[in-house]
Amino acid sequence: MDDLGNLQETWVYLSASPLFHLTLTLLAFQAASWLFEKGGHNPLLNPVLGAVVLVVAVLVVTGTDYATYFEGAQFVHFLLGPATVSLAVPLYRQWRLVRRSALAITVSLLCGSLTAILTALGVAWLAGGSAEVLASLAPKSVTAPVAMAIAEELGGVPSLTAVLVIVTGILGAMIGPMVLNIAGVRDWSARGLAIGTASHGIGTARALQVNETAGAFAGLAMGLNALATALLLPILWGLLF
């Protein structure tokens, strides 16, 4: 009986520890990845989406708040920085191709960046979004830390922006290939640039799994769009509102 009591006590202690929530994050991602493989890479089974759904379900059922969860999950979250830095490697390997298309990249990226901002603002405004909602949504195509800083500057809710950024990333990874197929865009550099501009790191992660050229262009687009949006959006916001 004592052993059972000890086990329960230990479990109560461990279930609130960083190790538990770190392990939960990894297990949920493994499970979601397994489902994605089993489902023949069906975009609806996107592993980031699946893992988030699983983790949220466990937290809601066990009545755990997000702050407690994040104490463990922050170790995984932290690696986003180094992973972004490491994108210099595929970029270097594809540099000849990138340099040859420098003008095309610049023009396409600026058009894409403007489209991302203006369509998000326009559609959400027409659908009755408040100023706070618009400001939180506008930088959604940009990597999370930059998007959050921009949202704050415009009067949005930064932590809501972080979620919208992740949803945009998942959405782009899910429907991007289909949109590009319908549009008849076949070459890997254009496909990667499009995915990286629209859906930052999550799109880049997906592009890297499919093709190294696409991955390099996606990583480049992610960095450039962060810069373009940080410069363009506050100016456009000032003109529109």
Binding site: H77, L80, A127, P145, A198
Partner: protein
């Protein structure tokens, strides 16, 4: 490989320092990426260990977004109230951005894609 992982961290640290000190609108890790890229250009090749470290990080990249995505539980109410503008805005904008960027790039780089 540990040395190369250290190099990646040093690049990020320098990136964060520069971005913070100059109040640049670019995140530290993106500047770190530029710095590592410059180092690779100067060196003229990717050391094997760096390739492995970078490859490992990139294979795990999708996983790294799960903690931030889980933050959705903080905003269930607001997301419910603004479901229509947020949902439509995200969907239309993402489709349009991918189509516009992809079509421009394919059109402007016609004939240069191969070789």
């Amino acid at each position: 490989m540990l040395g190369h992982l250290t190099l990646i961290f040093v690049c990020q640290l320098v990136g964060e320092l520069v971005a913070g000190a100059l109040a640049l609108p670019v995140p530290g890790p993106v500047l770190g990426m530029v710095l590592l890229f410059v180092i690779l250009m100067l060196r003229g090749a990717v050391p094997e260990g760096l390739g492995q470290a970078a490859g490992g990080l990139q294979k795990a990249m999708s996983l790294l977004f799960v903690p931030a995505g889980t933050g959705v539980m903080l905003h269930f109410r607001l997301l419910g109230e603004a479901a229509l503008p947020l949902g439509l805005g995200l969907l239309v904008s993402t489709v349009a951005t991918i189509a516009v960027t992809g079509l421009f790039m394919a059109w402007l780089s016609r004939g240069k894609a191969d070789g």
